[in-house]
Subunit: 160 residues, 10 copies
């Protein structure tokens, strides 16, 4: 059994039942809908109680329930050809250099974690046309300047 | 003169003067620092008053000021090899399918605009380590179902 | 069930019945043949009444009808190897820079939407050989210059 | 001298003079602005009288005038990272299969020429936001079914 | 049914019967063996009488016969790894610039059509080793310089 | 000095003098214009007497003359974006499988040489539009089935 | 039936029987083990007597025997990810320029044939660790300088 | 000034002086030689005191010293063609799946940080040939299961 | 049977039995868990006694046991999209140049073997968050400077 | 100074002096011409006495002499477009699987080293056309099966 076969089965059941993702994530609960949908689409792991809830909802076998609890091989081919996903890719491609400049100036040398982060998606009503609002917060991780002498701070030197 | 030569010159002056991006964007003002920095790095256009302010700040020629007012050829090579920018790319690659599912369920068939959108970057203090907070809002643009008969709504049919 | 399996089934039925696309899109109706054919080939969504009409025409199951109503993962591999599609790709590759220059001069900084647009294909009779005529209109979307001070227009500054 | 050096020089003069493309193409005249701008950007050839007019307008040397009269090595790297050009690329990527199906049904086995074709770009006023209108007509070229016996039409068989 | 499945079936029958391509194209007749073999390998369309002849020869179903009459999605992955096909690719790669220079000097700005062209393959006996002789003729298509004023020739200006 | 610098210099002189390729290849003579033009564009070697003739014609230094006599690093980036060269690439991409089938059936397992071959380009007058005629002959090279026992033919077995 | 299915079947039988390649190539005989193994892995053609011997050894059907006698579509994806094959790829990548310089100096403008060549692999005992010894001999093919005047040697000029 | 120009200058001075990396990193001190060499090669930032020490050692301008203190755009083209670097790439390519399985089983869903990590390179003497010893330690970062209800641990659920 | 089918079967059994990799590698024993897991995932060969132990544990057929004893075609597609594996790839991409500089200075011209090497993965407890510790030792292989005169050391010259 | 600039200078001097590679490698001596030419083309390191000899021959500066003694970043872009180098690439692509099968059967799991190897190129006279003979010997490196219990051989188990 491959993870994509499980995803296809889950989508078949969702279609047959006429369920929405909202219904599904409300039933499974426990963490952000972005993560739960991600797991059902084969990109995230569901922890055991959620895998159990998902298995009950979709009528999955014990094997399939366990597979939902496994960490998948994450990622999809890039560049994305689908317009909705491409727009996010384009934002990174066009704005990446400015984000890098501003984040490094504010936080120092490091990155915004793509592991210890959260995303919230919501609708922002607007008379000119509603807007999609996405909020990300990611832990800032400073580059470790290892090998420093004793007595210096873990991440190297304090910039004066 | 090429846009990257202007970018290199601006970065040379910034380095020589010891200016921060904050100082520069405060001086130029007028719109989001993300856009102003993006323009100085060659990814955005500065409207005339801002191009003028930038030219005064950096002591640019009239030719260079006009170039800042031009729309550049946007984008950078992908995948990004720089870790800070890659993390954003990875977020799209791992979460793209879930975003697509959730946005389409909430808004219908369409995209979140990468043109009519705004970004805000801020620091979120956190005892476990400060976090980078990024907020995007983009206008939802529904796919136009053109060619519909008279009397039906512009974007096609109301889903019942 | 995958969308390409449904496309293959639809093409098998079309072949078996000896139907033309014209016959099919007349039967399904409701919006542009470009969109309806696109949906049957797995690139567009059919709204519910059209999915129903398509399902009746092709004798599809309820599951398959619902799949036609889903937004597919759009796009195909590029560059296209097929000569007919490649010629369009080449037009973009050769003329893209001129289109960019002329559209930006006329409309300002922004894009022609690939979402809110329509296409019409027709035959233009010509004694030297008939011509394919394609007409596109797409909404112009100006880049939003966000973060502007209060009182300035939403899309930033008026160019003087 | 390379063609891109000439393009850079022309853009420098345009910027210095503060000319628009409309002014330039009106001055040079003779054929579609899409072609004239394309030639100045290094993608098209200007026939001799137009190359002369362009050389006079920009004060080019005789060598440069002759280069404008040469057929350049056409094309740009794909996929385009610039959003304006990408949208056209996306239209081909998403709609290509439907265009192929509809054009082949209407015209038979062949292509719409990317050589014997014309493009017109105009503004279409619209209270919901003006639209970019692009009209293409390209000669339909049927695949030649060569090697047919004497007495059969040049392009093979008449489909019954 | 996919076109490659039909190709595989045809090759299986050819192998089982021990037929040569010569025998097959003689039986089907009607146009160049290059085109008929191309169609049986999934790269060309067979017009109706030839599709019928092929179906009879191979004992194909009516569905399969109709598929042979459809225009396939043409092309194969490049660069070709097979040595025989790679040599042609290399000829283009090494000689392309010279062909471009010589054809444009002789014919003007345009292309040799890859649609309205024919190919003949034959054996040229030679005491030092026989040679493969391939003859191509393709219609020269001049770039259309559209938008020219009234009274000028369709393809722009006569070069003096 | 790099070969592309020499090519650029030669093209500058050709443009300045207003020479055609025909004039140039007539002056240099000695072998096919395809090869001579190829050498001047940096894809072929000119043997000594021709390099000398070319150097005299273009007024090259002794160093440059010697460079023309060197074997260059052949080839150009693929796929070609220029329409004229792309059409040849497309012919290989679409017809390659049929050529392979027919050549192997006629000649056996092997290739048509891309080294021991010749090309002739000419104009074929035609009332419907002149045609480009290209004739290739390449030595057929059979795959060597080495390691065969004594007494068997060098290229392996005679097919019975 | 596809060639890779036949390869898979042959490997299954080899594994089941516990045969070595040495045993197999001794049984089939007739030419170099490199070629016979290459054919069984889908990269070479077996001439009829060898295909027959292979079919008898593996208990193949007549169809499968004939397929072994066909010329396959040769080649595998590059760069090779397997370390053993990658090392050869690396040798070409690192040493290619030096081989080109030395072969061209010794033999003139041309190539070492990859068609009319042979390979021998053997073990070279060595107290510091045995070595793999590979010997290639390939016919040198000089570039044909076609179009030369009468009376000059076929391959162009004698370098003085 | 571009970072690669500074790198080239530093390598020129190193070569001229005949310095070793050991000498250089001893002089600059302060943190791991891997980081200091990385910074001098344009992949890392030197904190201010180290940038100062480096500038003094190499006799750099104040501008160049400041550039060493900037975060560069990190990364190099992949796959690496250089054998020494390729071997590391190959280790990831061949062993990546096993590392993923073992790290996830031991640590849970997450990654080994490439930011908060350190590397030590040393020589391991060995009578059969000395060995390169590389030790990495990277902080394990668990995937954050955000959106969990109040009262659950930050990183989601405890696996039972 | 393909190796990936065997891998899939092994993972299905592992999931069904609820076994950990630790349990599996303890049962099979004999060499590093990295290698054993690598073999079960299709990247390494298990020597005969280990293949036998694995076959007994998983209840595999004799055919499958033999397949585990075969050397697979190693490697996976790169760049890795999975975040855990990507981080290692990034370490090579960012640190490769510094490793090359330091290893070559210490050991001379050569590589750290990716064949004669070993890896150890362990947990390093740390109050700020546990760390993954990976230790590699690889034999240093000096480039052989072959063709040296008699009497010089095998690997060429002693650097003075 | 970059290595390719030095290569260009060396080639300019070689051309000016009219030297052959044979003359150059005889003058420099010390190791295989393949390595010496490789070093002069920027792919290999010359040990000190050879770098000195090369510097004297070419009249290089001390800086340039030292650069020849440095290990370059090895490798060139692949696939090679030059026909001479491509043929070697093709040999790997077509024969790689058979080489892997035969080498692994003879030597076990491992590789033929691309570091500890030597190449010899010579002319093999042949009445049908001289042949290029290339002989490689590379040390066989067995995969190390590390982590084995005490008492077992270093490279794992003896296959019975």
């Amino acid at each position: 059994m491959k993870r994509e076969q499980l995803t296809e089965k889950i989508l078949d059941i969702k279609r047959e039942k006429g369920w929405t993702w909202k219904y599904i994530t409300d039933e499974i609960g426990g963490m952000s809908p972005v993560l739960v949908v991600g797991a059902l689409l084969g990109q995230m792991k569901l922890v055991k109680p959620l895998a159990k809830a998902a298995a009950e909802l979709f009528g999955l076998s014990e094997q399939e329930e366990r597979m939902l609890n496994e960490v998948p091989y994450r990622g999809m081919p890039m560049p994305p050809t689908d317009p909705l996903i491409y727009r996010f890719y384009e934002m990174v491609m066009v704005n990446g250099p400015a984000w890098k400049a501003l984040i490094e100036e504010e936080f120092g040398d490091g990155i915004m974690s793509a592991i210890d982060f959260d995303i919230d998606i919501s609708r922002q009503e607007n008379p000119k046309g509603d807007r999609v609002k996405m909020t990300f917060t990611g832990k800032f991780l400073p580059y470790k300047y290892y090998g420093a002498e004793q007595g210096t701070p873990e991440y190297g030197f304090k910039e004066a």
